[in-house]
């Protein structure tokens, strides 16, 4: 076996640009997921039956079907309905964002339910509405609880975002494929791609535990 180190080094600039795009779509998707997840997570425990049911359906569907199929649904199936081609970037962040929204909703739900119910009672007994108590008392406290699982979700999505390579979106994995198509260096390129993913996920998990420690001392 002969490892062509030059090929690995030469392909780095292209792959690192791809890694940047991977981080970009992950960050945008998690951002989208956070907004969706916050509302769906709260809807899941609110006392309006319809909202609770809708939230449950949303979470069940997105966690119960593969992300790859969801990407196909948005990129290939949706245009048949709306009669317009969907841009790969938009399709990628939409699929990933909607998907991670479901996981983040469950993270928020668990984080909120971990708060002592006396906190809600105290807020309500002071005349604050359910929404006010959620906003000023429960959610800010839940936020601390959800930092570690949110970090895990970010890492999971960063890896899963490699799936959007199948719709031709040029993030890290797709760039690797394209370089291999030119150079036939499967071994070198996939090792390099794997190492770049590893560096990214390890960095993020260190960052999260640092944040966790800082919040804990507060």
């Amino acid at each position: 076996m002969n490892l062509n180190v030059d090929l690995m080094i030469n392909s780095l600039p292209l792959l690192i640009v791809g890694a940047g795009i991977t981080i970009q779509i992950t960050a945008i998707s998690v951002g989208l997921g956070l907004i969706i997840g916050m509302f769906v997570g709260i809807a899941r425990i609110c006392n309006v039956k319809v909202l609770r049911a809708l939230a449950t359906v949303y979470i069940d569907f997105l966690r119960g079907t593969p992300l790859l199929v969801q990407i196909f649904l948005i990129y290939f199936a949706l245009p048949m309905v709306v009669g317009q081609r969907v841009d790969p970037f938009i399709a990628a962040i939409t699929a990933c964002g909607i998907n991670s929204g479901a996981y983040i909703a469950e993270i928020f739900r668990a984080g909120i339910q971990a708060i002592d119910e006396g906190q809600m009672e105290a807020g309500r007994s002071l005349g604050m509405s359910w929404v006010q108590t959620m906003r000023y008392i429960i959610v800010p406290q839940a936020f601390k609880n959800v930092i570690p699982p949110l970090g895990n979700e970010f890492i999971a999505l960063l890896k899963d975002s490699s799936l959007v390579s199948v719709i031709g979106f040029e993030e890290l994995t797709r760039r690797g494929q394209l370089i291999i198509a030119r150079t036939y260096g499967s071994l070198e390129i996939w090792i390099t791609v794997a190492l770049i993913y590893l560096v990214m996920t390890l960095t993020i998990s260190r960052l999260v535990s640092y944040m966790e420690k800082r919040l804990a001392t507060k």
Binding site: G118, E121, A122, L126, Y136
Partner: protein, 239 residues
């Protein structure tokens, strides 16, 4: 001030309150005692609808909580102090006290903070405004909780075993605050195991057992001459 008629409350198939009638006058201090599981805390929690009655009516300051009253509006007038304080741990003591007046009563921050500092002074914690609740002792936390409830300028105060979670040496600092509150004419309903407080401060003592009011009257009278067997039995164990 508080008017309760034929109040029933069941949890699942278990009936905790079996028809309570109770009228509390303005400025009256009613102390509720009874064995654990007797329904005394549930009765108190029905007075601000933290527990929703199964049937019967609860009217506070003319607002029918079991009818068409706006429950958030009603709760502005009903302060509550919990056994486990339930302070907001992520906010300073000052913010704990000013939050509801600012968000609910739309009072300016300046004015809310002024009131909060006065209240802290009054409960003997003038120097703790910037502390966080977990940094305080249990007795201090409970006094902050009382200040927090008072900041809404309620017409009634409900106390749900306010000293039960405290170390013995901290009980009196909380009871003293409650005493001064009673002396100033606050209408109060107090669920407690502090018989000394009941005797000294209570205008009326209620003995609750098995979801009904077994006996009530002047505290000294009830302590010295309990009429019912169950009251006698209970008092013989706690006095």
């Amino acid at each position: 001030m508080i008017d309760i008629k034929n109040l029933h409350k069941s949890f699942g198939g278990h009936e905790v309150l079996k028809g309570i009638d109770l009228h509390i006058n303005p400025q009256e201090v009613v102390v509720i005692i009874g064995p654990s599981g007797s329904g005394k805390s549930t009765l108190l929690r029905c007075m601000n609808l933290l527990e929703v009655p199964t049937s019967g009516s609860v009217v506070v300051d003319g607002m029918d909580l079991t009818g068409d009253a706006d429950i958030n509006k009603a709760r502005e007038e009903i302060g509550m102090v919990f056994q486990r304080f339930n302070l907001f741990p992520h906010m300073t003591v000052l913010k704990n006290i000013t939050l509801a007046p600012m968000k609910v009563r739309n009072i300016s921050q300046e004015e809310a903070e002024k009131t909060a500092r006065e209240l802290l002074e009054r409960v003997g914690l003038g120097d703790k405004a910037d502390a966080y609740p977990p940094q305080l002792s249990g007795g201090q936390q409970q006094r902050v909780a009382i200040a927090r409830a008072l900041a809404m300028k309620p017409k009634v105060m409900l106390f749900d075993e306010p000293t039960s979670a405290l170390d013995p040496e901290m009980v009196n600092e909380v009871l003293d605050v409650m005493k001064s509150l009673a002396n100033e004419g606050m209408t109060m309903a107090v669920v407690t195991h502090e018989m000394g407080f009941a005797r000294e401060v209570g205008d009326r003592l209620l003995f609750v057992d098995g979801g009904t009011i077994i006996e009530q009257g002047d505290p000294r009278e009830v302590f010295e001459n309990p009429k019912e067997e169950r009251t006698k039995l209970f008092l013989s164990k706690v006095l």
